[in-house]
Symmetry: C2
Subunit: 723 residues, 2 copies
């Protein structure tokens, strides 16, 4: 009947408006049941369950078999890692898979059969699930003793497919690949030509004294290639040329030429290319988000205008205010926006809304919230008013900064003075006394500020919240210290009592004080600008970070598989008990892998040096016995050399060369936009905006035209518009 129809339209409008708010595509089924399912699928509960599942399945690697979540990485002290019994992690995994199966079926149903075949991500999702489940069954039928588990490498896919931002970013990266490949090819040509040159230049001679360069770095083709590849990362920079240089200074020309061409020109060329490709990336993605929002609102308007209530006589389609109010009440949205829309709806006297009016109403969504701080309390007494003026003044805040700086300096002085003292000679009195004084000042400052501003206004500033929280923690720590160890006096060196020693307590207090010093940031204009930009950047980088996590995870798991049991030490009677321990622990660990890979990534330009060094440091962290370490090192390098080289070069290319350049490109993009806008914003600096990426680009964005919107609406696979 008409009533049911009307209900359906209302529901469709609600969903479309929610789509617009969340920048979602509106291409889904629109019948009553599907709408209910759709709202359930995008409800907070289900999305939360999904995120939790993804987190759990990714985190499983930390407790699964060849892994260890121990405090120390030193095998001599650490307890054996807890190995979960066969079936425990597997049953958790099965639960996760079931959630994913539900997810993929609902998603596929909602977008409809036709769309499903076009959506490669969904098909890959199903394929991944099938492979994972098969692998899971195989795993269980071997009683968890199988050596290769494909499903562990596939896990990061679940993270990838759940985020539309990440999928978009990946597409962007994909389109940059051809140009990147050209530069990498150029690098390869550069490398191979110089390798041939080097092999001819540093050939073996009859005089054994003269060919040190040949012996160490250019013995054969793979070795020469490696030497020069590493020179490209500047890791072996002076060493590689020293033998030749000591023979004839002119040889340095070869190396300098190679480095300048390769490292300075070609590597930076990669930065330039990636920056050039990503220049429009942010703008384009914001533009498409805007289009989705306008489309959702327009779709809501269209379905509402086909409600039976509206007078059919009207030429232009329009929407009754009552229907819109009904929709607004049921739609889930930010309460501030909802109220603002309701308010302007009431202010507008008309009964019917045209499409333009309808869009205009929802522009509230694009606006940034102007944060209003609650007012200060109004005191009656003259004295209190003066107090309020004095302690509410910015100068009082500056005084607080000066005091914090003085505190930092005093800690620094004490640290420098105590640097060479034995722990037993150290006197904690001085530091205890001054910290006590400073913390009292902080407490006083906080109380006076609360007095001047009122508690609500005080808490509405983030810097005050940061300040107050740290002050309270410091106070608690100080009270705890005094209650356990008594008041400080000269020669105050009590025995260990309670949870922490006095020295640890004092250190903790000092660290918190150093941390509290960060409150000066908003007071320094340039620093504030940099920090807000960095925070913005972090928001924009979430998708990149997600992709990085995916790559990290895949590399860590691959590393474990490749190097499992590769580091097998051979006999040395003296250290044999260590060696047995070593053999037991020789399987690569996930936690270790992760940290090592992140280390490797951080030390981005030091490929080869780190490749060898990493093995050493890995060993030395595990055994602390240098002799074994060298033995192991020589063996392991020979054993895993072939695989390790390819693995590490791939890792270097992906993580350091490509990812770091992507990062630089995004950073440049963000900063240059911010910088251009700096002057404009300086005038508005008193008002605190909650800035989003969308706002940064607002004045460059193009509004979609009515024709574009309608064309897109008519292409909707499930919605039949009446007209």
């Amino acid at each position: 009947g008409a009533g049911a129809d009307n209900d359906l339209y209302i529901n469709q409008a609600i969903v479309f408006i929610e789509d617009a708010i969340q920048y979602r595509s509106i291409n889904h089924r629109v019948d009553s049941k599907s709408l209910w399912l759709y709202r359930w699928y995008y409800s907070r509960t289900w999305q939360w369950i999904l995120s939790l599942t993804i987190t759990v399945i990714l985190a499983l690697a930390f407790i699964e078999e060849p892994s260890s979540l121990t405090v120390t990485s030193d095998v001599r002290y650490r307890l054996p890692a807890w190995n979960p019994p066969c079936g425990l992690t597997e049953s958790i995994e099965l639960l996760c898979f079931l959630v994913f199966v539900v997810d993929v079926s609902v998603k596929s149903y909602l977008i409809g059969w036709k769309e499903f075949w076009k959506n490669k991500w969904l098909m890959a999702y199903i394929l991944t699930l099938i492979v994972s489940l098969t692998d899971w069954i195989v795993s269980l039928s071997f009683f968890c003793k199988e050596s290769v588990r494909i499903r562990r490498i596939l896990r990061p896919f679940f993270l990838l497919q759940n985020s539309s931002m990440m999928k978009k970013t990946l597409k962007s990266i994909n389109s940059t690949l051809p140009e990147m490949a050209s530069v990498v090819l150029l690098l390869a040509v550069h490398l191979s030509l110089f390798t041939m040159f080097a092999m001819l230049l540093f050939a073996r001679t009859k005089d054994n004294q003269q060919d040190k360069e040949w012996v160490v770095y250019f013995r054969n083709l793979p070795e020469s290639l490696t030497s020069l590849l590493v020179l490209l990362t500047t890791a072996n920079n002076p060493d590689v040329m020293i033998p030749a240089y000591s023979k004839n200074r002119a040889y340095s020309i070869f190396f300098i030429l190679f480095t300048v061409l390769g490292n300075l020109f070609l590597m930076n060329l990669l930065t330039a290319i990636i920056y050039n490709q990503f220049r429009g990336y942010l703008l384009k993605s914001v533009q498409s988000s805007l289009f989705r929002r306008r489309l959702g609102i327009r779709a809501a308007f269209e379905v509402l205008s086909s409600l039976k209530e509206t007078p059919a006589s009207a030429q232009q389609s329009c929407v009754s205010v009552g229907a819109l109010l009904q929709v607004l009440q049921k739609a889930e949205m930010d309460s501030r926006c909802k109220q603002a829309i309701m308010r302007s709806l009431k202010m507008c006297s008309c009964d019917q809304l045209s499409a333009a009016q309808f869009q205009k109403l929802f522009e509230e969504l694009d606006k940034d919230a102007i944060k209003q701080h609650p007012p200060s309390p109004e005191y009656q007494s003259h004295f209190m008013q003066k107090m309020q003026f004095a302690f509410g003044h910015p100068y009082f805040g500056y005084l607080g900064n000066v005091v914090a700086l003085a505190n930092i300096i005093s800690i620094c002085v004490v640290l420098v003075m105590d640097a060479d003292k034995q722990p037993s000679e150290r006197d904690d009195f001085f530091l205890g006394a001054i910290n006590c004084f400073f913390i009292l000042y902080y407490l006083l400052e906080m109380l006076l500020k609360i007095l001047a501003m009122g508690l609500k206004r005080y808490l509405s500033y983030p810097s005050n919240r940061f300040d107050g929280l740290l002050t309270v923690i410091l106070l608690i720590l100080e009270i705890a210290t005094f209650s356990v160890y008594g008041f400080p006096h000269p020669g105050w060196r009590p025995e260990f009592m309670g949870l922490l020693s006095l020295w640890d307590m004092v250190r903790l207090v000092n660290m918190l004080i150093v941390f509290r010093f960060l409150r000066i940031i908003p007071n320094m204009k340039f620093m504030a600008l940099v920090v807000t930009t960095l925070l913005d950047l972090v928001k924009n980088l979430r998708a990149f970070a997600g992709i990085l996590v995916v790559v990290f995870y895949a590399f860590a798991i691959t590393g474990i598989m490749l190097f499992k049991g590769a580091v097998v030490p051979l006999g040395n009677t003296r250290y044999s008990n260590f060696l047995q321990e070593a053999e037991k622990n020789s399987k690569a660990e996930f936690t270790g892998s992760c940290v090592h890979i992140s280390l490797f990534w951080l030390s981005r330009e030091t490929l080869y040096f780190k490749e060898k060094k990493n093995v050493i440091s890995w060993c030395s962290a595990h055994f602390q016995a240098e002799v074994i370490c060298r033995l192991l090192y020589v063996l392991s390098v020979h054993l895993i050399c072939r695989w390790a080289k390819i693995y590490f070069v791939a890792w270097w290319l992906i993580s350091s060369v490509i990812w770091v350049n992507l990062f630089v490109a995004l950073l440049l993009e963000n900063f240059i936009h911010k910088w251009d806008r700096r002057c404009q914003r300086e005038s508005l600096s008193d008002i605190e905006y909650q800035r989003t990426v969308e706002l940064m680009f607002r004045d460059v964005l193009e509004e979609p035209t009515e024709e574009e919107l309608m064309e897109k609406l008519h292409q909707h696979p499930h919605l039949q518009l009446c007209r």
Copy 2:
């Protein structure tokens, strides 16, 4: 009289037009004698003498006392460096100073007294000369035994002041300094806060086993600061955290946080800031060059229009064609441009030229020369025409590339096969035979191409010149080989004869063949694009490179002064003869300094590692005795540690942080401009332009208005315009 006046005007016009061509300022004296002096000053001869003088005075450091220009850097084999007798370098220096004195007086006279006081560069020039001459007198009065020579540090100034581009660039860098300083300040705050944190976190404990981290990296404030500064360069990356990490894995969070914030965010922020500042740099400099050119031409027009010949009745000022022809004949300019202007002057039928027509005539100067290749010879015979078609076709060039590739591959294969053979086992027959074959092919290719294209057309292509030159050299080498060692046959291993052994000859031939392979570059589109952009970049970077040379030179000289005699080894009986040698050679050398500093610069991110390693490699290059090296190393690090740290940190900041970022900024600027234009140019790709920076920006440049030009002309300090 009027004739003398006319002559003066003509001369002024000639000079102004020459100024316009060279983008020089026109603010100089304009009386007859000054004009003669001005033209003499900017004549090729004098400018060449000046450049030579600057080169000579800079090059002096290579032969002056604590330096050594020896082939090997190994003290055991090298002959004592030639020490010029006292007075030799000094008298060369005096000659140079005299040239500079002439230079500065002419320059000062030409710009006039008033302008002189505004010109800080000229005053600094005079001051530098006075200080240098005083130092020179002091030096001679001590019979060259004085220890500090200030004038050596001042030398690069002469290079700096002679180039207007470098002065402009320096000004640009100067204006970026405030923002760079903010970021460096931010880095300093970051570093100091984290240092305090680290010192509190890794404090000394009572258990000596547990505080390895403290012992090695965080013993006191300077040590902690250094450790973290070096971590910022990622040089000590995994090592610095291994002791702490092996105690508790959570400690890695501290290091990862520090590196991500400092290295990834703040360091790249510096890139972003510098790029942002330099974005408009090229455009601005090209714009001001254009203004100078237009101004010079306009000034020439104005002086010519005040010639007595012109009819006074004319309302608008104008210039007679005859006068202009007279000026053109005497002015020094590119003959192509001169002819083009003459031609268009003859084509224009009018007798008088207005200002706009006058400017338009000289637009020829802004145009790029379209290079026209001479035509191919036209053969009568049908057979020859067919030959011409076949060997003039691009496919024949591709065939040549394929053959060159085959040659490279064959060399590569031989190298791989011979890699492990003893030199005495090596058989040179195979390589000799295939090289002989390939070189014959190259010769044939060259001859056929000359046949098809004619010698002139063949030589008009740079790729052919490159090709042909290398082919001829290869042929000569091959003939020399055969004449000395006979034709190759199996077991062809003759004794050493003549200048080079057979093996060296073969190696040389192979290197040339590898080098010749670069001819494929223009055939690969992307590579060609990259290479042309790089060449453009090199042109634009000349000013930067000049400044880098200035900084290099100053640092090398400062390094010599600071570390003179710092590396003094102490007794070890066994190596005492080495040690005496060492003591003799312990003075730092200029050549060594230069190379070491350039090495250091190339390995840009490895501050600390290289700081220590450099001393080692320096020693090992000099003594080859590892034991001494370690002794020396320990001693020298203790002795020169304080100065070395400051010196190397300064060097790192200036060379790697600032200069490399400047380089990246310029590269980005250049590439992005090129890229945007790529599509446009692809259609024109057959025509070879001689591209200049000016042309790259032509469509963005703004023409100066008539009012701006006239205002500037009226501000001229020496030229009184009649109207």
